[in-house]
């Protein structure tokens, strides 16, 4: 079983594919779960506090906007933990955790330079594309065993 980071890290389809193939998807909801379960932390909605963008300094310099560093404080540790990556580039409705294009660019770069096994795809728009999409993901995930 391999820990696979999916990008966008909020994708149900990608997380599901990873889980179907018996691996562990690293997704945003896992990080959010840790935050919302932290007792005595009162910073709704996500319980991200001003301390989090400071933790994000590990991944981006202080002159990088706070929203990027705050997001990176959650995505960064997932990238650190990842043993493989499944990246889909052209998500067109990325909001919230993936609502900042700069953060998404940085996250993709950090995944890329980590040197772990990875596959980069596009969201399918036809049955033929979907067939290749699913097949390529399956082949990739099977290869991780």
């Amino acid at each position: 079983m391999v820990k696979v980071i999916v990008f966008p890290p909020t994708s149900t389809i990608l997380a599901d594919m990873v889980e179907r193939m018996g691996h562990t998807p690293l997704v945003m909801s896992g990080e959010i779960r840790k935050k919302v379960n932290t007792p005595s932390l009162e910073s709704p909605p996500l319980n991200i506090t001003p301390e989090d963008p400071k933790k994000g300094l590990r991944y981006a310099a202080v002159d990088v906007p706070s929203g990027i560093r705050g997001r990176m404080s959650m995505i960064g540790p997932m990238i650190d933990e990842a043993e493989a990556a499944l990246v889909v580039k052209d998500g067109n409705c990325l909001v919230g955790c993936t609502g900042c294009a700069r953060t998404n660019e940085l996250a993709r770069l950090l995944i890329k330079v980590k040197g772990i096994p990875q596959i980069e795809l596009k969201y399918p728009t036809s049955d033929a594309e979907a067939r290749r999409f699913v097949h390529d993901i399956r082949t990739f995930l099977e290869g991780l065993r």
């Binding site: 997704v27 990080e31 779960r33 909001v95 609502g99 399918p124 033929a128 290749r132 097949h135």
Partner: protein, 141 residues
Amino acid sequence: MRITKYIITSPESNILPSDVAMKIYGSGKDVRVKETCFGVMVDGEEDVVDSLIKEVRAMDPHGIFIKSRGFPPGDPRRCRSRRGGGPRPGYFMMECESKAMPLVSRALACEERGESVPEAAPQKAPISTEKLIEFIKDEFS
């Protein structure tokens, strides 16, 4: 540890969110269930939820998609009725992906049947300058 899973049914699946909810209710397991526009959230102890997920997936192996969810169902910190309205951002992603699910669903079924994978469409090449000049001449002649 308590976890929350989001079970999403593909719009083309014969299984409706209400069917999934009934299945979970029928199991008599100690979990919380909430039906939504896209599927069902189930919240409970990890091992209980995981075993339920297996049963639910078997209802339509290619048309049901599952992901974990950060917030438990109806958490006031994220609930739109308590937080000034507007859907939580994840809603849009889910709606987008829900629209793509039938494609993936059908592809998963083909994959399982071992059908051959169609060739990728050839990459579109930019038009040659000569051809473009020809079009311009045609248009303005």
